[in-house]
């Protein structure tokens, strides 16, 4: 949760407005505040709510942008890619199989250094056709040079969208960035959100300047030629260079966000909840934070020292920092709202990444247990969280536990 810094609280009250809006609407408002130039849309649940809100803002005359309804997700992402290369600030998004249909356009964007900002309304991949949240859609681009972040509230969705433009359009970065919002839990539920003043956003967010990479008659360049083995490695190395400094840039931008708006997120990469004296922690991404936090407060009343780490940024993955944080606990349980069939230990994606980070970044290497749950939008319940925590405690006491377990599954 973001907390307000006292010094700017008074000033902000004058400028800020409070509204009861969904996570999707919060992102639409961020697009308005960021003065986005080109928006492309193609309906698919739960992303479609954001295009609905943006089109309404355009229709109401509140937002001035090119709003293009494409004939499919592939074109949707191709159009913003080209607009971005021509210097436009762009917004796009999709969900589930729609995101996968755009995959070819998604893969080409990082090498072209396109700072497109997207919202992924996380949705299970077909089959079976299902609306509910799973994280495998956004995670499909995790190795391709995209930046990926998960938010857990409408407020964080709005703030992160502003941060996203500032990070992605930083000349040192220039890669696409996706903000993941859990379908239903975030995209479709309304919460009270502080909407910052447009003047402050203007101050926070400089104009997008593509410099010598701008495709324009005054700057004649040819983009994306065919290249052979003499060139491809060097091009990949350029994207690797982005990942080398991405964490530093994100840290800078969060610090400036706090200075400008007075809302403080602390460590940008992960949020720690009741970890100070915790013996074990759970770790996860997105809106499952709500039942986890409630369960933790309940277990704390029973004297169980358990905490929670919510991962915000999956790419870049703040490996050394996270490992340093986690090594002080006796055991860690990672709750994946995704699957990675056939992976080492058959765990989910996040558990596998956490183990990898711990192998090199921690001196203690506590057990990391993987849990798979909440798939297809299934509720992660408070008893589910309690059950996982019990298993993690057993591991902390030196009783070996299976490395991967399914939670909330009918037997």
């Amino acid at each position: 949760m973001a907390t307000l810094t006292k010094s700017v609280e008074e000033k902000k009250k004058i400028n800020e407005q409070e509204a009861l809006i969904t996570g999707a609407e919060a992102i639409a408002i961020a697009c308005k505040l960021a003065n986005v130039d080109v928006v492309t849309a193609y309906p698919i649940r739960p992303y479609d709510t954001v295009m609905q809100y943006i089109s309404q803002l355009v229709a109401d005359g509140e937002m001035d942008c090119e709003f293009i309804v494409a004939e499919g997700e592939h074109s949707q992402f191709e159009i913003v890619k080209h607009a971005s290369v021509c210097g436009a600030r762009v917004f796009c998004g999709s969900s589930g199989v729609g995101w996968m249909y755009a995959m070819e356009a998604l893969t080409v964007s990082p090498a072209l250094r396109v700072p497109m900002v997207c919202m992924v309304g996380n949705r299970a991949l077909d089959d079976p056709g299902a609306f509910g949240v799973e994280h495998n859609d956004a995670l499909a681009v995790r190795d391709l040079g995209w930046m990926l972040t998960w938010v857990d509230s409408a407020q964080e969705a709005l703030d992160t969208a502003l941060i996203a433009y500032r990070v992605a359009e930083d000349r040192r970065i220039f890669v696409p960035l996706a903000i993941s919002c859990d379908g239903a839990f975030l995209t479709h539920s309304q919460a009270l959100v502080q909407i910052p003043a447009a003047e402050l956003v203007q101050k926070f967010l400089p104009r997008y300047n593509r410099g010598e990479l701008l495709l324009h008659p005054d700057n004649v360049i040819s983009v994306a030629p065919q290249a052979n083995e003499d060139w491809v490695m060097e091009i990949r190395r350029q994207n690797y260079a982005v990942t080398e400094i991405a964490c530093d840039v994100i840290r800078e931008v969060y610090a400036d966000f706090e200075r400008t708006f007075g809302r403080k997120y602390g460590n940008p990469f992960f949020e720690e909840y009741m970890t100070e004296d915790a013996e074990v922690v759970l770790l996860g991404m997105g809106t499952l934070s709500t039942p986890v936090k409630v369960a933790i407060r309940k277990m704390r009343e029973q004297g169980k020292k358990v905490g929670f780490v919510r991962l915000r940024w999956f790419r870049p993955f703040a490996g050394p920092e996270l490992a340093k944080c986690l090594e002080r606990f006796k055991a860690i349980g990672v709750l994946d709202r995704d699957f990675s069939f056939g992976s080492p230990n058959l765990s989910g994606v996040v558990a596998t990444e956490v183990r990898s980070a711990m192998y090199t970044g921690s001196s203690t290497r506590p057990p990391v247990l993987g849990f798979i749950g909440g798939l297809g939008g299934r509720e992660v319940t408070v008893p589910d969280v309690e059950e996982m925590t019990e298993i993690v405690f057993k591991a902390a006491q030196g009783k070996p536990q299976p490395l991967t377990q399914w939670i909330g599954l009918r037997g």
Partner: protein
């Protein structure tokens, strides 16, 4: 010590892709008849399905498995024992579609080894095009018309087995004629092809090419930049717009020459070049409009000069030109430079027009352009000439 051999076949995609593959397969299988092991492969970066693009196929042969593996532990052989050029217009040097720069056809040859060229020309004429080198080598001409076909058809004119026969003569350590014969008999099952291989073996001779002998053209050199020196976003600086240029006689500026990429010249894809008669040109603009590569410079006279550094020889201009014998595609082997035809015309009109008479004397207006040939049916017309070469003892 175990022996390692490498042979490269330099060919025209797509017209000779299957032919090149058949030859490298034949090399491996003929050598295998002597207990040797080998592999045959085409260079992956060549995109040999594209018309006229120079490509390479390789055969690597060794006495044993470990030696073969040592020969395979590289993208392609850097040094070869035999280079075979299947179309003599490739002797001007080759640029692969994947662009490694213009490479001479004898560039990979070990000193003293053999370059085989399929050609109707003699050695002095070929050496006007083949770049000179510092080490000596042998040049052998396998007399024949370049064997062109397409993606889905294979012209079985025995070029494959004739090349195998020539290699057996040039490099008996690789395989003997008897091994070629065994390969043809067992795998190709053609007694006539055995005869063709024998004939090629008997006829094949080489001459010694001395260091420094050959085309003196300096090859374009370039350095590959490091990753941090390269532009970001997979982008290349564009060309400026271009503009008028000077008449070689009057020095007056006029016309329009588009700026072009200095680093990428496509002329090595060309087997035919457009020859323009500037005296009959009606300035109708059709060649200039239809050229897929913007190869035509608009001369200060208002005529159109095919820029031969750029032109890849597709022949569209000849097909669209409405004037009889104004633009004619002529076999590239007739020419030894890429100089401007218009400049030659301006300097000496009579001499230029006289040279046209020689070059296009047999050229009737074409009915239908076709890939690899000037017009449809040209292949059938070549058959009697090919038979004459085959039968001449």
């Amino acid at each position: 010590m175990a022996q390692l051999f490498a042979v490269e076949i330099i060919y025209r995609g797509v017209f000779q892709k299957t032919l090149a593959k058949n030859i490298t397969r034949g090399i491996v299988l003929a050598a295998h008849n002597e207990g040797k092991l080998g592999i045959s492969f085409g260079r992956y970066g060549d995109a040999p399905e594209r018309n006229g693009i120079p490509g390479k196929s390789f055969a690597i042969v060794a006495d044993d498995e470990l030696t073969l593996e040592a020969g395979m532990a590289q993208y392609e052989p850097k040094q070869v024992d035999v280079s075979v050029v299947l179309d003599d217009t490739l002797c001007k040097g080759t640029e692969s579609w994947a662009w490694y720069g213009l490479r001479p056809v004898n560039g990979s040859l070990r000193p003293g080894r053999t370059l085989i060229v399929v050609s109707l020309q003699d050695a002095p004429t070929l050496l006007k095009n083949i770049h000179r080198r510092d080490q000596p080598y042998k040049l052998g001409i396998m007399k024949g018309i370049a064997s062109f076909s397409g993606m889905w058809v294979y012209k079985d004119d025995h070029t494959d087995v004739r090349v195998l026969g020539a290699i057996a003569k040039a490099m008996p350590e690789l395989f003997s004629l008897a091994s070629v014969e065994k390969f043809i008999t067992e795998k190709l099952k053609s007694p006539v092809k055995v005869t063709s291989a024998h004939t090629a073996f008997d006829r094949f001779t080489t001459i010694d090419v001395k260091p420094g002998q050959g085309n003196p053209e300096e090859l374009f050199k370039f350095d590959l930049p490091g990753w941090s020196d390269m532009r970001g976003g997979v982008s290349i600086k564009g060309q400026p717009q271009g503009g008028p240029y000077a008449d070689p006689i009057t020095k007056e500026l006029g016309g329009f020459r588009p700026a072009r990429n200095e680093l990428f010249k496509k002329y090595s894809s060309r087997t035919l070049r457009p020859v323009v008669n500037f005296a009959t040109c009606t300035k109708c603009t059709l060649c200039w409009l239809n050229c897929p590569d913007a190869s035509f410079d608009v001369t200060p006279d208002g005529t159109y000069d095919a820029n031969l550094e750029v032109c890849c020889g597709c022949g569209v201009c000849e097909e669209v030109c409405p004037v009889k014998n104004c633009i004619t595609m002529v076999n590239e082997s007739e020419f030894h430079d890429n100089k401007s035809q218009w400049v030659a015309f301006k300097k000496d009109k009579d001499a230029y027009l006289k040279s046209l008479e020689k070059e296009i004397t047999k050229a009737e207006p074409i009915e239908k352009r076709t890939h690899g040939f000037r017009y449809r049916g040209q292949y059938q017309e070549q058959v009697p000439a090919a038979l004459e070469i085959a039968n001449k003892r």
